[in-house]
């Protein structure tokens, strides 16, 4: 079942989900039967947390590139002329609300409350999809106006940075649908709940990255 199974002392009570050893604090953390599943929840989420931090570093590299190139407009349009703060405000609202609904979906999962889980996940999806749609529309408008990624170094940096975030959100939407389908097909299994925790971490982190992007790219870009 798991790598830790061979250290299992004989005679330890086994839960129906996972085989494993008993941890003192296990019962305090989850209602699952005491077992290796609890420690594994920490290990899996921590590993995913380290991946997310490396993802944040990836965004920092793209952001540093953008910040260095903001003035390299090559005679083309600058952020002040291109950015529409009303669109950015709507995008920000969508992503912020979706991250709250994602958290509520996690609460629904912990409580094994089907309606709360599916409802909140659906709301998360709709808000996330709205965000991606608005961003694609913004990109299409800019490219149509001749301000595509090949226009200037500034715009290359902009499309790389914002586009990378948008691709992350799109991947997150696919993951979200997968998690709704997996809970439906497999039920509240410990491994499904671990994946759900990783998904929630991913989604919350994308919103944290968006906070940096709307503040330091869009708002600083148009500030007087």
């Amino acid at each position: 079942v798991s790598a830790g199974a061979h250290v299992l002392p004989s005679g330890v009570a086994r839960g129906p989900m996972e085989v494993g050893s008993v941890h003192a604090h296990a019962a305090a953390l989850t209602e699952e039967p005491i077992g290796h599943g609890v420690a594994k929840r920490i290990v899996v989420a921590y590993g995913f947390w380290i991946f997310l931090i490396s993802d944040i570093i990836l965004f920092a590299a793209l952001f540093a590139t953008y910040a260095v190139l903001t003035d390299a407009t090559a005679g083309g349009p600058s952020g002040r002329e291109l950015f529409d703060l009303r669109i950015v405000a709507v995008e920000t609202g969508c992503l912020l609300l979706s991250t709250v609904f994602c958290g509520i979906a996690g609460i629904g999962a912990q409580a094994r409350h089907d309606r709360l889980y599916y409802g909140a996940m659906a709301a998360t999806f709709v808000l996330g999809a709205t965000f991606v749609a608005i961003e694609l529309h913004e990109f299409a408008t800019m490219i149509h106006e001749g301000a595509g990624p090949s226009r200037s170094a500034f715009l290359s940096g902009f499309f790389a940075l914002i586009g990378c975030h948008g691709m992350h959100v799109t991947a997150g939407l696919l993951w979200l649908l997968t998690m709704m389908a997996q809970v439906r097909a497999k039920g509240w299994r410990a491994d499904i709940l671990r994946r759900l925790l990783c998904f929630a971490l991913f989604w919350h982190t994308l919103d944290i990255i968006w906070v940096a992007l709307f503040s330091l790219v869009y708002l600083v870009g148009v500030a007087p």
């Binding site: 604090h25 921590y46 995913f48 912020l96 958290g103 708002l219």
Partner: protein, 133 residues
């Protein structure tokens, strides 16, 4: 159980997964935490959008003010949405994050610092073009 193993096991097995909450309240109580986070984040976002379009803040300091507000909002997200706290069960999560932030700061400020010096010390493109004539 003696005191020493108890303290040792706290670091080893008393950890909590990033994203998990320690206290398990009822559903409405847990949702309230997210709503407090939403209110704080909305407030900070609103202030950011407001000062970016107004002359309320001294203009040259607006980027600094926006950075401070952004960092504050990231803190709100970390605490209320990701449940990263200063508690002993969160030390591993916080340490990983702190190391990540160190790399982020080195990357961003290092790049800006080097490239600013570079553009100060390199002759502008127009001058090079003139000399080649």
């Amino acid at each position: 159980m003696t005191d020493a193993p108890a303290q040792g096991s706290r670091g080893l097995h008393g950890d909590i997964a990033p994203g998990d909450e320690i206290e398990r309240h009822d559903i409405s109580h847990a949702i309230r935490g997210y709503l407090i986070g939403l209110a704080l984040a909305t407030l900070l976002t609103g202030v950011s959008f407001y000062i970016a379009r107004n002359t309320l803040v001294w203009e040259p300091s607006i980027p600094i003010a926006l950075s401070v507000l952004a960092i504050a909002q990231m803190g709100v997200h970390l605490v209320f949405f990701l449940h990263i706290t200063s508690g002993p069960d969160n030390i591993n999560n916080v340490m990983a994050l702190a190391f990540g932030l160190l790399i982020v700061m080195l990357l961003v400020f290092g790049s800006l610092w080097i490239m600013t010096h570079l553009s100060h010390n390199v002759m502008p493109m127009e001058r090079i073009m003139q000399m080649q004539r």
